[in-house]
Symmetry: C2
Subunit: 272 residues, 2 copies
Amino acid sequence: MADRNSPIGVFDSGVGGLTVAREIMRQMPDERIVYFGDTARVPYGSKSCSTVIRFTRQIIRFLLTQDVKAIVIACNTATACALEAVEKEVEIPIVGVIHAGARTAVDSTKNGKIGIIGTEGTIRSGVYTRVMKEMREDIDVTGKPCPLLVPLVEEGLLHDSVTDEIASRYLSELKGKYIDTLVLGCTHYPLLRSTVGRLMGPEVTLVNPAYETALELKQILEGKDLLCGQESNDVEKYHFYVSDLAEKFTSFAASILPGQVKETKQINIEEY
Amino acid sequence: MADRNSPIGVFDSGVGGLTVAREIMRQMPDERIVYFGDTARVPYGSKSCSTVIRFTRQIIRFLLTQDVKAIVIACNTATACALEAVEKEVEIPIVGVIHAGARTAVDSTKNGKIGIIGTEGTIRSGVYTRVMKEMREDIDVTGKPCPLLVPLVEEGLLHDSVTDEIASRYLSELKGKYIDTLVLGCTHYPLLRSTVGRLMGPEVTLVNPAYETALELKQILEGKDLLCGQESNDVEKYHFYVSDLAEKFTSFAASILPGQVKETKQINIEEY
């Protein structure tokens, strides 16, 4: 039975969710984390919602075997497709990466024009628009899918003329909409923050849902008296599981969380 | 029980194998084809061989339920990782995309220097080098992984300055090796044939394993008296199955095989 000293479960289609895990580590340094990256089936962004929901259910079943006290869907596509379906099925708190980022964007915009960049799955779902319009009806939201940014980030081309060119093409449409706030609606994009910021200019506020999600999780755990009471005695506070033991996970994880990823275990997620 | 009028099973991690299916349709227009694209778990190229072998076994089990008379692994990564493991397990002929292309490259080179481009999985496996060295010991093989070319092709950037720039970076290493023959070791790459040809120059022969594989398959079927005896009475000669019903498959398939992909059915490949 999960209690306040149980770990937080965090999952993503692959490595991107590590930017969310990093924010949880920063804001709640005493908490234990079990991270799962679905590296055998990555990416989710170009797949249909019914498939993403099926994958999400399997991962939640796995995380529950690890006695997690809360679950973070650290993936915009999975949040967009599956959060609504699965939150009714789980008894512990479950948080996606969309709601907190949407709230911050709505609070931050002055002219009511907000842009969202994300994968095809996230943008096609229209979830950011729906959530933000529920918060403030007259908000004007423009979504732009940026499918090539994830592979470019995963190839390490964070500061590269090709990434600049591709990002510039994607963002040019948003520049014409006079947005004053842009949500980085994919967990990989915080790694392109400087590129996106330079292309959009200083008058556009960038919202990083990873940061806002960690904050929301902290408030929920506090409200339910589930914040970790003491520093963990566990030798390893952070445990990492993947569905495919590709080298890419380890090398990418090492760049996002230097020194924190000591061991990565492979599980067969299709069995859950 | 499969006989000469049974279909040929062709599979790939996604859409790339359609370039192989297209060659089979051209060279053996009477044959029926059952195509499976593992669009729920695409791509394979960045995943580990043990995972790719597991996926391949599931797909073969599915294709056998369709009474196929032969199987084509129309994916370089799956051929590199899994062909050797699965060919002993299957009683019908099973053909990969590597052997025939390797044979043509070895026959075509004059200076004995051959280049291979492919995914990380294909190049890391070293299978092209091994196969070609078995054919001719003194051959000099240079492999170069080109991970961004698949997403660029799938985004439709076939003739684009960004694709030129990325391809040029990947190929510059091969240009320094004075190769006279280059194998397009990924089923997506025939779609970039003109770009690669222009960058490598007219003195380099490009080998398209899709073409060579269809030829090899035809010879095997002939040898086993399994070539289709008559034009199929089936209303639909070609059947397409995917593990995820993403729009991308349909639109991409329509561009590679105009008019041939009338319906695409989704199956849950994890159940096989």
